[in-house]
């Protein structure tokens, strides 16, 4: 069974149709790269999956459980959205770390707050927090940040900040981790250190959706590539096909602009 099933997602802002009946599905452990020019709707798609935007139509199911269905009012109640978000993690283009917390605190904050909803929170608080802290340290170490845990975001480079943000998203163990142009704000060197971390995650069978402009990276990290243009999926399939031998004229033109650059 597919871990993620997206059906006919539609979204308009005013008169502008940003997403027109987007459908795709994703198996556990797969990595999907979404490519396309700016304004093609890639970011909006990710924001819909994370319930930062509410789609006008369509449905989203994770592990067979319908999280959102525009046709079914019961499946889009505001109160449940917060918990449904936890199925997805999102790494932002601009990191969005919390500046007043250290790297470690950034990673543990949400987990500690969620622990309050545990029925035994009062009696097991110490134990819960110790576990959350331990996991956070392990994640940061995995991101190569063992010696940076107590630094504040402004003391870290962009690449380090983005790796903290990835650890923060992973800490809640989402079913699907989403990346919104994770390296667009970074110089080439820092880009590589972030891409290296994402590659590692792919090797560990982390299910991911990556919106990116890094074609070479998309080509060798993804199991599936989706090319979007004007709010529709123009072409999708394995990277060797979509990036290597595109069948659509629009895809070719888009990829050509990369080769010329």
């Amino acid at each position: 069974m597919a871990i993620l099933d997206v059906k006919d997602i539609r979204k308009s802002f005013g008169q502008t149709e940003v997403l027109k009946d987007i459908s795709f599905s994703l198996e556990r452990g797969q990595v999907v790269s979404v490519i396309g020019s700016s304004g093609s709707g890639k970011t909006t798609l990710l924001r819909c999956l994370n319930f930062l935007e509410r789609p006008d139509g369509g449905s989203i199911a994770v592990n067979g459980q319908v999280l959102f269905d525009a046709a079914d009012p019961a499946a889009r109640r505001e109160a449940d959205i917060r918990r449904k978000r936890l199925h997805f993690g999102l790494v932002f283009q601009s990191f969005n770390l919390f500046p007043q917390y250290t790297a470690l605190q950034n990673v543990t904050l949400a987990g500690r707050l969620l622990a309050k909803e545990d029925p035994d929170y009062k009696t097991r608080k110490k134990e819960l927090f110790a576990r959350i802290d331990g996991e956070a340290r392990q994640l940061l170490a995995q991101m190569g940040l063992s010696d940076r845990m107590d630094n504040y975001p402004h003391q870290l480079s962009g690449g380090q900040q983005q790796r903290v943000a990835i650890a923060r998203a992973l800490a809640l163990q989402p079913d699907i981790l989403c990346f919104d142009e994770p390296t667009s704000a970074l110089d080439p060197e820092l880009t590589q250190e972030v891409l290296r971390v994402i590659r590692q995650l792919a090797q560990r069978q982390t299910t991911m959706i990556i919106v990116t402009h890094e074609m070479a990276f998309a080509r060798d990290v993804s199991t599936q590539v989706i090319f979007m243009d004007g709010g529709v999926v123009v072409e999708s399939g394995p990277p060797e096909q979509v990036i290597g031998a595109p069948t659509q004229e629009r895809t070719r033109r888009f990829l050509d602009s990369y080769n010329q650059a």
Binding site: R83, R85, N96, Q100, L109, Y152, H154, A169
Partner: protein
């Protein structure tokens, strides 16, 4: 000079009493206006249009008219127009009326500073909290609030310093604060009459107090220097 030194003990005792009332008005205003300002800020940012329009209208009126007139209206309107002097005739009534005028006036100024502070936090901070499954109030208290405080400390310090000196306006309804106490020696008080220096000397109190406030607020600003 000899005369002044001779008058000094009596004058200082009287000025100290006035200053105590000034301090009381200052702290009561702060205590009331800090939270009320937040309520007004949320009102003016409300997505419920009638509420935000009404709140912004009230803020406009309060910020657009002199505090002295607001004091006069709040103190005299019930008694002289409605013929029901809710304040009574004593110092307590004058203090209550002053406190209400000051709290409301300052809350309106604070609300605009709060609003600016809250709206200056990048939307990404809130979204980061949302995707991490935080509730609205968790996002406000754990993510946004400290960043807002850091940004509003300098403009709030300005307002607080202004408030120290604005308390003098309560003299207009004869609240027995520092100016009132200094002025009393002109007409005659405690056996001293025709002395203008006590009134001038009140400036030293204000200067000392704003000096202390500047130090305290500067410290707070430093304490929040650890993040950007």
């Amino acid at each position: 000079m000899d005369l002044i030194l001779q008058q000094m003990p009596v004058v200082l005792k009287s000025l100290n009493e006035g200053f105590l009332q000034t301090l009381k008005l200052f702290f009561v205003t702060g205590l009331g206006a800090f939270p009320l300002g937040l309520v007004i800020a949320f009102g003016s940012m409300s997505r419920f249009k009638p509420l935000s329009v009404l709140t912004r209208f009230v803020v406009w009126v309060v910020r657009g008219t002199p505090l002295m007139i607001q004091l006069l209206i709040i103190y005299y309107f019930p008694g002289m127009v409605l013929h029901n002097n809710v304040w009574g005739s004593g110092e307590t009534g004058r203090f209550t009326a002053s406190a209400i005028a000051f709290i409301f006036n300052y809350a309106c100024y604070f609300s605009e500073i709060y609003r600016g502070g809250i709206q200056s936090i990048p939307r990404g901070q809130q979204e980061a909290g949302m995707v991490l499954g935080m509730t609205r109030s968790q996002i406000f208290f754990k993510v946004t609030l400290l960043q807002v405080i850091k940004r509003i400390v300098p403009p709030m310090s300005n307002e607080i310093i202004t408030l120290v000196k604005d308390t003098a306006l309560a003299r207009i309804i004869a609240l027995q604060e520092l100016i009132w106490a200094g002025q009393a020696f002109l007409k005659g008080s405690h056996g001293i009459a025709g002395a203008i220096w006590p009134l001038f000397f009140t400036a030293v109190y204000y200067l000392a107090f704003t000096g202390v406030m500047t130090l305290v607020l500067g410290r707070l600003e430093k304490r929040l220097d650890y993040f950007r």
